[in-house]
């Protein structure tokens, strides 16, 4: 008798919620295709969706392995940056003085366009190895996760802390039982942002040089030889993988943070 059982009705309702979005998407593609034909837009400015899809299909044996290579970099950076962010927030939340010293710097750092450091990271780490891309993706993920986690850890109600103290609970227990669960919705919000940033970091990092197996390198080199269909097909692969990572995080959130108002069964 769990209140979370998915009834056929709720699946139907969810499917129906998607209908408008799908309709708009299909319409946009149709307008795109139609506009190119109608206004004779040049291939290198904007290829037809059908041309992109055919390149996507013809070159699937190079595109997908390249995408997978880049995806692994993004995933590595995402994991490192997010774990680092959560760990840093935990430390800062625990030691006030540390937070007072570091938070202004962290907030300033968060406002820096970190992606601009991509060439520098390529120089610091081996530009041909995945490490340099993982580093840039990791740094991109780190700041939003840290800032949000810290906000979550400190947004606990003072009453809840008092209640736990009345049970003589230790700081560690309070962290585990109250602060961390309170922070979870904040953490997942940040992880969704980070999942997108990780893919951006990896691809853009590769634009500044990387292994020939990498998607960013492929997109750039195809664009240079004016093979725009394939470049666009590469972007499509990057998008699909980015969306996949985002969805994986969002689904995990729905399974884990079931108590958040937006996830409550109505």
């Amino acid at each position: 008798m769990s209140s979370y059982t998915i009834t056929p009705g709720s699946v139907g309702r969810q499917a129906r919620e998607w209908v408008p979005a799908i309709a708009v998407f299909v319409l946009a593609i149709a307008v795109w295709q139609g506009a190119i034909a109608a206004f004779h837009i040049q291939q290198f400015l904007l290829p037809k969706p059908t041309a992109i899809v055919s390149a996507f299909w013809d070159q699937r044996h190079t595109l997908w392995p390249a995408g997978w290579y880049t995806f692994k970099e993004a995933l590595g950076g995402f994991a490192l940056g997010s774990l680092g962010g959560i760990a840093a927030a935990t430390l800062i939340g625990r030691f006030r003085a540390l937070g007072n010293a570091l938070m202004p710097i962290a907030i300033a750092a968060n406002a820096i366009p970190i992606i601009a450091f991509a060439p520098i990271f390529n120089a610091w780490f081996d530009p041909l190895s995945p490490n340099s891309k993982m580093a840039i993706a990791g740094v991109l993920c780190f700041f939003p996760v840290m800032v949000n986690t810290l906000r979550g850890l400190t947004s606990v109600s003072p009453r809840q802390i008092e209640l736990m103290r009345s049970y003589a609970a230790s700081d560690l227990t309070i962290w585990r039982r109250v602060r961390f669960p309170t922070a979870l919705p904040f953490i997942f919000t940040a992880l969704k942002v980070a999942s997108v940033l990780a893919m951006i970091g990896a691809v853009v990092g590769e634009y500044f040089g990387g292994s020939y197996d990498a998607l960013g390198v492929l997109i750039r080199s195809k664009a240079q030889i004016l093979d725009f269909q394939t470049a666009w097909a590469g972007i499509l692969v990057a998008s699909l993988l980015g969306i996949a990572l985002y969805l994986a995080v969002a689904l995990t959130e729905r399974a884990v943070v079931r108590w958040a108002p937006e996830n409550r069964p109505s």
Partner: protein, 268 residues
Amino acid sequence: MTGVNVVEIQSVTKTFPAGNVTALENIDLTLTTGEFVSLIGPSGCGKSTLLRVIGDLIEPSAGTVTVNGKPAKQARGDHDYGIVFQDSVLFDWRTVAKNIGLPLELLGWDRAKRKQRVDEMLELVELGSFGEHYPWQLSGGMQQRVSIARALAFEPALLLMDEPFGALDEMTRERLNLELLSIWQKLASTVVFVTHSISEAVFLSTRVVVMSPRPGRIAGVVDIDLPYPRTVETREEPRYFALVTEVRELLRKRGEHLLPEEEAALTE
């Protein structure tokens, strides 16, 4: 059973450095086992502060608090008291049953023992079929009953309640008053109960402690000699009205320096 001192407050003073407020000045109060003592007084007279000092959630600036013959800090370490706030302070990610079981988990009770006690508590507060619900699926009054069940689950010697029914409507409040009394009698616990309502204080308590503000002091203590069990009829007895008037007079007499709206709030 009666006569043993559960709480001994000796010349307790509490000043908050912020704003240099003297929230409590020279408070002396002793509670014996099985007593139900209400603290009443205008807003800001230090009722919550006194409750927190008793529960060792804040330290007094001077004076001592002894609970069950131990310093308050040690009593807290020994899980000697349960606390209930005005809002229920439940954890949204835990079911009702798990919320009630939280203090038992922290005490290291095993699963079977925990489940048995939680089921008992659910019955006690008449929420038997709501164990697997989440707090946000309950009404405000039900949530407050969960938080009372949680405070009682480990049978603390002392129950500290800070306006537990303050946010509820009058009908729910009167029903929960009756429930609280029957629980209190069943468990023979000692209760410190903060309230703004004169009628609630008189109806529930064995003693009403009237406090006055700036600085927070005890203005007087009224013994409530109404017999238990108290019922709906108790509220219609002449003696009840006489006691309500006595408490009100005490509040008024000591409240010359009350702001008009504070006075209005107290005279309902």
